[in-house]
Subunit: 329 residues, 4 copies
Amino acid sequence: MKKKKKRSSAEPAQFFGIRTDLAVEAKELIPQDDGVRTEVTTEDDFTLTKVQIYTEDGAKKMGKPKGTYLTFESEKLKENDTACHNRMIESIAKELRELAKLKENASVLVVGLGNWNITPDALGPKVVHRILVTRHLKNTLPKELMDTVRPTAAISPGVMGITGIETGEIIKGIVEKIHPDLVIAVDALAARKFRRINTTIQMADTGVCPGSGVGNKRMSLDEETLGVPVIALGVPTVVDAATLVYDTMEKMLEEVSLTEEEQAEALRQDQQKRQAILEEMLTPYAQNMFVTPKEVDAVINRLADIIANAINIAVHPGITMEDINQYVF
Amino acid sequence: MKKKKKRSSAEPAQFFGIRTDLAVEAKELIPQDDGVRTEVTTEDDFTLTKVQIYTEDGAKKMGKPKGTYLTFESEKLKENDTACHNRMIESIAKELRELAKLKENASVLVVGLGNWNITPDALGPKVVHRILVTRHLKNTLPKELMDTVRPTAAISPGVMGITGIETGEIIKGIVEKIHPDLVIAVDALAARKFRRINTTIQMADTGVCPGSGVGNKRMSLDEETLGVPVIALGVPTVVDAATLVYDTMEKMLEEVSLTEEEQAEALRQDQQKRQAILEEMLTPYAQNMFVTPKEVDAVINRLADIIANAINIAVHPGITMEDINQYVF
Amino acid sequence: MKKKKKRSSAEPAQFFGIRTDLAVEAKELIPQDDGVRTEVTTEDDFTLTKVQIYTEDGAKKMGKPKGTYLTFESEKLKENDTACHNRMIESIAKELRELAKLKENASVLVVGLGNWNITPDALGPKVVHRILVTRHLKNTLPKELMDTVRPTAAISPGVMGITGIETGEIIKGIVEKIHPDLVIAVDALAARKFRRINTTIQMADTGVCPGSGVGNKRMSLDEETLGVPVIALGVPTVVDAATLVYDTMEKMLEEVSLTEEEQAEALRQDQQKRQAILEEMLTPYAQNMFVTPKEVDAVINRLADIIANAINIAVHPGITMEDINQYVF
Amino acid sequence: MKKKKKRSSAEPAQFFGIRTDLAVEAKELIPQDDGVRTEVTTEDDFTLTKVQIYTEDGAKKMGKPKGTYLTFESEKLKENDTACHNRMIESIAKELRELAKLKENASVLVVGLGNWNITPDALGPKVVHRILVTRHLKNTLPKELMDTVRPTAAISPGVMGITGIETGEIIKGIVEKIHPDLVIAVDALAARKFRRINTTIQMADTGVCPGSGVGNKRMSLDEETLGVPVIALGVPTVVDAATLVYDTMEKMLEEVSLTEEEQAEALRQDQQKRQAILEEMLTPYAQNMFVTPKEVDAVINRLADIIANAINIAVHPGITMEDINQYVF
């Protein structure tokens, strides 16, 4: 079994460029409690997993920065179950409010990362489209109404391939002009396992790397780069084709029943072999293929509703579950 | 090596529900010339493969109806190379004209199959959007202008999940009202190999099964069901995730070097094992996942331009390469 | 005052090609009760006007076929007031159910008229996108679930300029294949007055002329042409620019204070003058300009939600206000 | 005739909030040559008007800042005439290059103003979508290829109603991060006369006010606010409904044949009357209605192609008319 552990441990996967953006999945890959604390709450129809990485060592092992990672999981996320979605919206809004700890007059900038031309990467832009934007109304709304909303701005800058500009540069430029007290960044992520796709919402106070999901890693959006706290909200919407091939190869080696010696022999040789197979399988697209379910378009729209509603409730003091439908596009 | 051949023969693949819509790929899977004739022409930057299935036996072996299948292949199809695309447009238009053999006053109905909400399945609707539609102008255009165009109608009915109606029923209903002399059906297909994705255009005089690509098989659109000849044009835009997993497993068994006996042993057991692995890998999506390149959106738009231009030139006597840009939306 | 009445009576307006699709507006133009009965119900935040045209004479005077025309009116329709919209959805669903009188196993075809490329004309296609389509599930759903839904199909055929085919031909072809017991046709309309735009929903059991709103009059969709009852639902989303100019000219002649003789003099000459002015004002677009509010895109999406919800509740026995959000896009 | 001139002079129009964004139209409203020089070149199928405002007095009279305004006009702009469009692309690119006077290594930022949710206001975002963006490729492209392109970025920030942020703030923030040598801003404009709609392209070296067309005036984008030269490119895509009503009233007063005294009498009273009529005609939408032709969607796409092609040729040394189709989709 050690063999198995070694084989399915994070390192060889990373060697193959296999990546997960999900703290819960990273957690699955490493032994318990070295600098990482995990706490699971189970509700009727979803679970909330809180992973805290509190040492540099834990951060190294997880391949993720120190901080708090919340994961909301439900099979029903990808279905059309409004009742369950509403319960999750309330829970996400509550946890987001706690993570944000916004002062009374604090202002917020919501950033939608990702490429609106690629359906599974369009989550961020679709969320921004549904955010109740109020910053520009400051002096035009009657005071009693202004008290119900927080100055909130929202933008989807578009990916570097579209603008020619690092997303981080654009956001930093805007942050330096409008000085928000908090940035909330929403992005689509890549998962390791299909069962995570469109069933998991991750929230973290550690910022985000634009395009770490469908695109390529870029300058981070976090407190260090932007000078203000950054809360990241993400949903895994794809699995890299490379991940699927890699995991299939792993599975085969584990399942095809051979003697210990045969397995050992197979293993001794298989790393470069598997690299070669991986490359052959993905020719000519290398790392640029992803796997996505057919109904992705409708699911992304619902996920955008859920996340946008949760943000609208969390940031605007006067907005409740009763109101949200009033503000969704 | 017989083993290997057996393993990669079409049957077990079909057993696993692995499918290809491409005659050239089906051809790769069966021994030469039993009722199937293949002829390959190589141009500067694309190749044209003509597969003719002329016996019932060949049809059975290929798992495709008797008829003529033309395949235009070029790596440049998925790039932005207008010069190459224009040469392919001319070639496709020429072959389409020959296959169609339209009489002088014959009318055409272009049908765009597929789901416009799923980017890689939206090829058909995007082609229809670019077709020069003239049927309704019959009595309003000056005669000299009418002579340059053929009465042409075009429709994208939408998939059954959107309409609640078999696409075949909708098209048959319309055909019985407007009595076209030819139906040209355009659809997105599923390929077996990544290198086919967005690099191959298939044209056949045998009709088409809506949704055989990204969706599920349905009532055919062909001369038998519609009462008029049907020419199908398709491009493979996805690979089923199941296909990728299956082929990875095949590859592993071929590559992991074991003795003959060990391979034999592994093989004896592996069919149900592989089925189990396949199901586990795809959980919870079963057959409903597909693999697609990231830039699919831009590529589909270019492919739609190419196919629509080829159709516009083939059906309208007065339209040449010089004109096409005038008519593309 | 006779002068004024004559001027604002329907005839000269029609002489100028000024048109309204709204029975309530037509009603404003003719003297009371000759073959027309009107009944107004006032709710908290909307009014329901029932116009019944019960004689040929009334039909001629109204320029509309005999039948029942219901008009739901509220300023809040074009705002984002979910509470009011929900009350209107219930009322529209109730009246639609009464008008439809569907037998237990009766099936329905919902037709979305209009051009999805022209925002204010895209109402029909947007409604169809939100209809709960069930006809294709007949034999796949568990019986207890099937009892909650009625076999329902939905299609947006696209306007003649897009397909080259009369919308009526397409719908008739489909009706003859799937034999629905009722057709519900949804279309965008042209209003006479701005205050009607996006504030009025009209429902009638007399069928509809595709494109009578933003496009040009075409073959009717009604019981006579399709062989099944047709209920039309429409919302005025534009005013023709010609209407705006015509009404401005009318207004000027009424308001610019001149002596009786001067007005008489002005009037005697003004018909052809006004025609000339009208044409000059609209050069070079003639009848092809429309006036629309800036926020039309968001408003059309909300109106599509309202109408689609009302239809989903009216046709599916098991669907209630609690459920609708589950089924909207 | 003096009366007439007075009536149609700019002042009362502005009193009524009637506005034009076109220098050529403003020019029509004022007597010749006080601080304004006009030069007209006529090509086969388009005319180029160069208006130079060279004194403060002329600027005041024109209601526009000092600078150079080029206007390209052709009826064929709104038709599908590729040959004419290509000639205009070449001419626009040539004039743009002269106006820009870019140094060899100068970099460019193209800004698409306007609201992508409002078709006639989506010109800017659609142009940006077609710009060849190269700034991010600086160190990845082979040198010989880099020499053919200039570092170019492009962004459509979205209007203030969408982001909650002044467009000017966003652009200024980005400019301060990436330091382009030139900003090219593309926007949809409001015209005074229908014949200008989609037939006129205006280019000026004086910057632009976002939303001065379809939206409301905002902070300017010009050399003073951004610290780099700003060239504005715009196309009138709408006429305000208020303008149409106002001009109709003007026309009526000019055309209804009365005696001098009667006209004088009518005039003496008509200003507040006309204001009242204007408001009544537009109820309840006030200044928020616009008039647009039905085919606006297709026309905007073609105009976006023309302007994007002209910009791509003007800024990238290695790109010619032969290449443009390679980069536009």
